[in-house]
Point group: C2
């Protein structure tokens, strides 16, 4: 037990920090979570380290045995690990890293972009297991991605590898994306995009939309489609058209062996996957037209699996 | 002299097979070329091996010292080396490989897509030297590309990595691309695309086009622009708009450290590079907006440098 090596994956989201404890074979030993504090001072850092203490305690393991901690965070992480942009979250990365290293003195701490971490999760233990190159696409409130080539995430020069939600698909769009650009994939293919397209289709056809629980409640739109709502199908077709063309373009850049779809919207894939595959085939060049599009298998756990895997990979190469 | 290791790069084009002889430090020892025969029978193979004999003879070197031969060919080459599509050239890859191995009995033979080979040339001895990740864009009759991540070309699952000429930029286009698709980057940003846009702009403005030497004589369009031809500037602006947006999308996928432009059209970069950079900045997400766009330095020799470098890399890892 003394030389048992453990790894922790932390998935830092807007509402909670999900935690997973893994052994060096990648087996999940325990899960936990804490509400996400502002990660900018010792009170915030302590909330996370207290969560780690509880996670280790529940599994009867010691902090000294933790050899690596990976953190999935919702912003670009360049290869040099220096985080420049913090779009959706308050985080002081060096401060948090120091607190974690104090708490687990034998652990190396690594940051990874959350979509990239989820991609690595699917590679290590999910749908992409056994592939060497694939592209992970996560469809939730926004659209994110992770590009894996030869078993490694492509972080890119400034950490923007896999930022496929911001592919400029439609340069004549007048509405703005959350990032300030216009006509980005995310505006059409995210849960929010589906809801926007649905409302527009209702207005165009002068029909009443179903009740929606918020601006990204794509689930209600998918339910409406099941019930024969024409405007809902218009929104789904628009999503499939944009996303299929985007995937065809990604094939022209890195030509993955497989695409893997994750995020909340992928739970409704029975309603759109056939249409998405048809759209992809329509736009793809002939040699790439049979690239499979599959659904992620780890769900919300992909981030903790992937973050821990990144820490484990780093420990192995040291 | 007996253990001197040599490498040959062959760039198989539509009209000629260019040849370069290199030592193991990557120094160019000699160049040659033969007209491209149909590479499907012994007469064709012999034309190439005779060229190699002449190349070695001029440098007073022996066939036995050749440890690797790289061939740049104008079709996708997957990681497994099995060539499935032969778009622009008659080539029997296994037959040619066997003939080369008989001629240079100590040489391993490798195939690489021509744009990927040119990318590796720029990486080994040209503009991209010192970078780990970059994207090479070649603009000639068509548009090709090579995506390099961590010092290696991304070939992709079926060899379509870097096929950026076929990014579907404009799904409402009615004209077809050479590949059968519609609205591909190549239709707007290649030499042929520039000429097409120029003619359309002349027609729209009811002006007489300058004399053109063929359907891809972009040089005359650039000359016309220098002389103040408004339609020529319209064509150049269209090329920069499409290409800048395409590069911005490539940044969202692999986020290269630098873009390197090659091909015949890059010789006129003094006329369009500023506009292209402005277009790229307009479409790129903020973290990527400063990615430099530079001009290739090896010109027509990039293919022989890269093909030889691919053979040298393969010999080193064996």
């Amino acid at each position: 037990m003394a030389d048992r090596k453990l790894f922790i994956g932390l998935d830092v989201g807007g509402t909670s920090v999900k935690m997973g404890l893994f052994d060096e074979a990648g087996e999940l030993l325990g899960k936990g979570s804490v509400p996400t504090p502002p990660l900018i001072d010792s009170a915030g850092y302590t909330a996370v380290t207290d969560g780690i203490t509880a996670l280790l305690g529940a599994a009867s393991e010691q902090a000294e045995q933790v050899r690596g901690i990976g953190l999935a965070i919702p912003c670009p992480v360049p290869a040099d690990g220096v985080i420049r942009m913090q779009a959706n979250i308050q985080i002081n990365a060096p401060g948090l890293q120091a607190a974690l290293e104090r708490h687990c003195p034998n652990a190396a701490v690594r940051f990874e972009n959350d979509a990239n971490a989820a991609a690595m999760g699917e590679l290590s233990a999910g749908t992409a297991k056994g592939f060497k190159s694939f592209v992970f696409v996560t469809i939730g409130t926004g659209v994110g991605g992770g590009v894996v080539v030869d078993g490694h995430v492509v972080s890119g020069g400034v950490g923007a590898g896999g930022e496929i939600g911001h592919l400029c698909m439609n340069p004549t769009e007048e509405r703005s994306c959350g990032c300030g650009g216009k006509g980005h994939l995310e505006q059409y293919a995210s849960a929010t995009g589906i809801v926007t397209s649905y409302k527009a289709a209702c207005e165009a056809s002068d029909t009443e939309p179903v009740e929606l629980e918020g601006p990204s409640d794509s689930r209600s739109v998918f339910e409406a489609a099941k019930n024969g709502d024409e405007a809902a199908w218009t929104a789904i077709d628009s999503m499939c058209d944009y996303l299929g063309r985007a995937l065809s373009m990604i094939s022209c850049v890195v030509d993955p062996e497989v695409f893997v779809l994750g995020g909340g919207t992928s739970n409704s894939s029975d309603l759109f996957l056939d249409r998405l595959c048809a759209s992809y085939k329509r736009y793809a060049i002939s040699v790439c037209s049979d690239t499979p599009i599959e659904i992620a298998s780890l769900g919300n756990d992909a981030g903790i699996y992937g973050a821990a895997y990144v820490a484990l990979q780093a420990a192995e190469t040291e």
